[in-house]
Amino acid sequence: MSASIDELCYLPISALGPELHARRLSPVELLDAYLSRVHRFDDRVHAFITLTADLARTAALAAEAEIRSGEYRGPLHGVPIALKDLYDTAGIRTTGHSQLFAERVPTQDSTCTRLLADAGTILMGKLSMHEFAYGPADPDGFFPPAHNPWDLSRVPSGSSSGSGAGLAAGLFAGSLGSDTGGSIRGPASMCNIVGHKPTYGLCSRYGVLPLSWTLDHTGPMARSVEDCAILLQAIAGYDPRDPGSVSVPIPDYRATLRDGLRGLRVGAPFGYLEKVPDLMTDTFEAYRAALTELERLGAEVAPVEMPESDHLEVVGATLLQTEAYAYHRENFVKSPELYGRNFYERVRPAVLFSAADYIDVLRGRARIKRAFGQLMQRIDILALPTFPYPARTFAEDLNTPAWARTSFTRPFNITGMPAISLPCGFSSTNLPIGLQLAGRPFEDALVLRAAYAYEQATDWHNRWPRLEDQA
């Protein structure tokens, strides 16, 4: 290939795959290109907690030999990726970005780790995140937090912060994040990449450090919708080791990407959004422009109500905190000093919830699911901004209490609906803005199709930050 190293590092997986297959590009050459950017930029981006360059080179050489001998595994063969540091990787430490697990080395891969290895990916290492996937970025944490490549003084959002920052910085081709309240879609929105939270039960969580069992999702993050479809194809499917896993037919997620939007019914909760106190004007304008584009592409956009909007926050937050507390309770008592202050202080109050509180939010969840189910009988896609505002500084992020943050992502963790975030504009301060599209359970292919149509009609996803210009 004649592309420069930087151009190569921003090519989508969908373009890299054919080059690797045709042997116009070697997995080793591609890995070296990414590693050169890691060495140039990651001392400022801090996407990686653990870089496994030697293991990656061994895997790249093996992939090169396999492809040369005709044993091509598919569109991920020879593609360098990195994983949020809560996916277990046999023989490679998996920390959850916490001192508590700083030396924890799993003996087995998570199901998703194994599936991506089987697909021929090259694992470059493990990525920074918010400690145990919760709370704001912690500048005083045991490991350094990832920084937003669009403005290194700002957070990339989280909790899959290293995945978002590393993709935006061109450090690897794809990643897996996890999403309990928006942790895939938030970094996607703030880093100008694409993140898909699949339907609950579609992708295994076995071997993934839990935050909240009934809200946790695993899912792909990449630089294009099609790349997310490619990664999803590799990890979707029933896993008997995950009690939340559901056995459903897995479609070809790329097969319908180009089917367009004509006739799709898109709901837009304008009335709800107009009352959201922290929704920034730039974000709302970018969202409205995106809806206009969806309409131009053939979708029928109509205003809808936001179901149960008064109760989404308390149900989502209470579920998350009580389940996180249940997981961490023993270590909170034995070794509180091994937790970062932010995580510990945000989860500790869950000790004050009663069993009746937890049961009542589960009852609330049933009510919310029913209301969203009724709404989705009238529309095919629910469109929202991903986040009310673009990336904040670390201090702003740290000092904003949880109750003062409106979440447009949490409803789809409560309901389990598939939801994607993709680039849809920039603020007046040149910070990315994301569009979120959600669909009915297990209609991930439709969500990807709608996102792809919008992405291909716009060029937001082709913009990348200039790290060279930032000190």
């Binding site: 308390v314 000790v351 029913r370």
Partner: protein
């Protein structure tokens, strides 16, 4: 503790920092009085939100399944 969590009288739900600190310590957690004082407002805010949720819940509403099998209700 009963005074904090009493279900019958909203006036009994008023939390104090010492109540919260006591409950945390009973669970084996470290919580200073200053830290507990900072928890009072978010605690009461959350309890108020839970109260609003309870007010709209149908008495026969059952909890969502723990692993919530979206497929059953979604299709």
């Amino acid at each position: 503790m009963e005074q904090i969590m009493g279900e019958t009288s909203p006036t009994n739900r008023s939390a104090t920092a010492s109540d919260l600190a006591l409950r945390a310590r009973q669970a084996g957690l470290r919580l200073t009085d200053d830290e507990a004082a900072r928890l009072v407002e978010p605690y009461e805010r959350t309890q108020a939100a839970l109260g609003r949720l309870r007010a709209v819940l149908d008495p026969v509403e059952e909890p969502a399944n723990i692993f919530h099998a979206v497929v059953v209700e979604g299709q």
